[in-house]
């Protein structure tokens, strides 16, 4: 007897017991729906955070920040260190794999322009800033190497900053006073926007509020800092595979320059993303577990109903055995039936899961799709549940004594 014959028999039987079949399938439907929905949403979330990272410089960005020692009593060496400096940043340029180095020095200054007067945050940057943040001027130009060399009295404004200082006036070419120092506006940046989900909160608004000047100008004109300290340094690595290695190299170079003291921290986004994903995974696990429990319950329901309907089939098994069916034939027949039920449940579960995914995706305004791979996984789990939970009734049927089975009323 071929497997096809068992399948035909199974389909005939399922058709004859529509109500029973639906009852059997419902747990599997919910289980598979829940599993594929979780997978689709998790996948979509993952892609979404990658997108966000890409929007702000991508994975290849490595951030270096000051991390002064928290010891109560500092050693002489620790006291001699001033933290990250412009020269540290310049030294990083020599490391192979580092394509961009962008030290940033912040200062708090009083901005005045006409009637407008307010404390504002200042970012002293290098030309590399644009490529690191993928943030480019929409009008005019950005800070140049010349500006850097001359500590020029120029500034570039974020879109919101420009509107705040100049209203509807054209800012480029005009002067704005920072702590009383007249700086010529040479450019206005493109507007940056990123909305998570359906929110109205622009996650990148902080970029639009930036005021950029040459980093050398910060040291020379605003802080007067002889050590040329920087707040943090952004670097770009040439390719993702090199991130770990190059980050280690950066640590080594800085440690050497800081007399063997690690008073800084190197954050590569790849490991941060990993951390994020680990947290997400926890959440995914919860949902997958819920799906698994649902599948388990579905499986038990299948087994229960198979066992309950067993009585009415004892005689049939007896007849089949009298006609020459062996244990394997009978087992195959029962297993095929439970697998068919779970396949049916899996199919309906996929449809339902697709619906769930679309609904949730619409609700949080985030595209999510069930990939063929996920559909495959859903089917495989349901079929395994069918085989697993169909096994006991199948073995029980296969072992029936033909004489007793035939006598069964």
């Amino acid at each position: 007897m071929t497997l096809l014959e068992s399948v035909v028999d199974g389909i005939v039987d399922i058709q004859a017991h529509k109500g029973r079949t639906m009852l059997q399938a419902v747990g599997v439907v919910l289980g598979v729906a829940s599993v594929v929905t979780t997978m689709a949403l998790a996948d979509s979330g993952r892609r979404r955070s990658m997108e966000f990272f890409a929007e702000t410089g991508g994975l290849r960005k490595v951030l270096i920040v000051n991390q002064p020692s928290r010891d109560e009593v500092k050693t002489a060496l620790q006291l001699r260190n001033v933290g990250l400096s412009y020269d540290d940043a310049e030294a990083l340029r020599a490391i192979p794999g580092v394509t961009q180095v962008d030290p940033i020095a912040n200062a708090r200054v009083l901005v005045s322009r006409g009637d407008y007067q307010k404390e504002w945050n200042l970012d002293g940057v290098t030309p590399d800033y644009q490529t690191v943040y993928k943030f480019y001027p929409g009008k005019g130009r950005f800070i140049t190497q010349d500006d850097l060399a001359n500590a020029s009295r120029v500034c570039v404004l974020g879109e919101t900053a420009a509107r705040t200082f100049f209203g509807s006036d054209e800012p480029v070419g005009k002067t704005v006073y920072l702590d009383g120092v007249g700086m010529t506006v040479v450019g206005v940046m493109q507007r940056k926007e990123y909305f998570f989900n359906r929110g109205t909160f622009n996650a990148l608004e902080w970029m639009n509020r930036k005021v950029f000047v040459p980093i050398t100008a910060v040291h020379k004109r605003f802080t007067g800092d002889p050590d040329r300290k920087v707040s943090y340094v952004n670097t770009m690595i040439d390719k993702p595979d090199n991130i770990k290695k190059t980050a280690d190299e950066i640590r080594a170079v800085l440690k050497r320059r800081h007399r063997g003291i690690t008073d800084f921290e190197v954050w590569d986004r790849a490991s941060r993303l990993e951390q994020n994903q680990q947290q997400n995974q926890m959440l995914n696990m919860v949902f997958l577990l819920a799906g698994a429990v649902s599948l388990l319950v579905g499986g038990i329901v299948i087994m229960n109903i198979l066992l309950a309907s067993f009585q009415e089939r004892v005689r049939e098994v007896g007849v089949r055995k009298a006609l020459g069916a062996n244990g394997l034939h009978i087992m195959a027949q029962f297993l095929v039936e439970s697998v068919l039920v779970t396949l049916l449940g899996g199919g309906l579960g996929l449809v339902l899961g697709f619906g769930f995914t679309q609904a949730v995706a619409a609700l949080i305004d985030q595209p999510a799709t069930i990939t063929p791979h996920m559909a495959m996984m859903g089917f495989l789990t349901s079929v395994s549940a069918g085989i697993f939970f169909g096994f006991y009734p199948a073995v029980k049927a296969a072992r029936l004594n033909p004489v007793e089975a035939l006598r069964y009323e």
């Binding site: 007897m1 014959e5 006609l323 020459g324 244990g327």
Partner: protein, 229 residues
């Protein structure tokens, strides 16, 4: 064993162990049935008639003794091998027909060939031919529930014959039929025997038994008479 001996039972015992005491359902049955013979097995209820039929039909194995069917020693076979022997050598006809209710009569007749590993096309053809021989050629797609009792038993007979078995074993084949239909069904068995089939009828009805060539009567698990009718 002579060449035209199809069944030989020697000192067959079947003991059911019910814990405290054991029941000797068959207490040493020895008999032989020739190829092409027409035999009735009779006996009151509790005589071991059913047990004998189960052993002859290879549905059960004896506790002791030897059973040779068509040259094969089946008394010591595993359940696995017995399934094959039933498929190849035995054609069952039951009192309650025992057709699969959800399968067409064509599919019911195909079933033994399915377990015998015969190809689909061949099977279909043979099942249809056999049903036609029994006058049901125009009902192939019908479900058993759409047929009368007599027609159902004809389907069962077609199913029993379709694998060309060594013996046809019928257990009270007319028990669920009215007299006229029963007569008709018995006529079919008569005809099968005249065509050379070995037919064994298990019955308690003397009128049925009288049609056969030999009646084997069982009492208390032993053969008391084996006379020519």
């Amino acid at each position: 064993m002579s060449s035209d001996e199809i069944i030989r039972l020697r000192e067959i015992q079947k003991i059911y162990d019910t814990g405290a005491n054991s029941v000797h359902a068959l207490a040493g049955v020895t008999l032989s049935i020739a190829r092409g013979e027409y035999v009735a097995i009779m006996g009151p209820s509790g005589s071991g008639k059913s047990t004998l039929m189960h052993i002859v039909g290879c549905l059960d194995t004896p506790t002791s003794g030897e059973y040779v069917l068509a040259g094969e020693r089946v008394s010591e076979m595993t359940s696995w091998s017995l399934a094959r022997v039933r498929n190849k050598h035995i054609g069952f006809v039951f009192q309650t027909f025992n057709l699969l209710p959800r399968a067409s009569i064509l599919r019911n007749v195909e079933l033994p060939m399915m377990y015998g590993g015969i190809s689909r096309a061949k099977r279909r053809q043979r099942a249809a031919d056999m049903l036609a021989r029994l006058g049901l050629g125009d009902r192939l797609k019908n479900l058993p529930s759409q047929l009368s009792g007599g027609q159902r038993q004809r389907v069962a007979i077609a199913r029993a014959l379709v694998n060309d078995p060594s013996i046809v074993l019928a257990d009270e084949p007319t028990g669920n039929l009215d007299t006229r239909t029963g007569e008709e069904i018995l006529g079919i068995f008569d005809e099968l025997n005249s065509q050379g089939h070995t037919v064994i009828l298990v019955t308690h009805d003397h009128a049925v038994a009288r049609r056969t060539q030999r009646v084997i009567t069982l009492v208390d698990g032993q053969v008391v008479r084996a006379i020519a009718a």
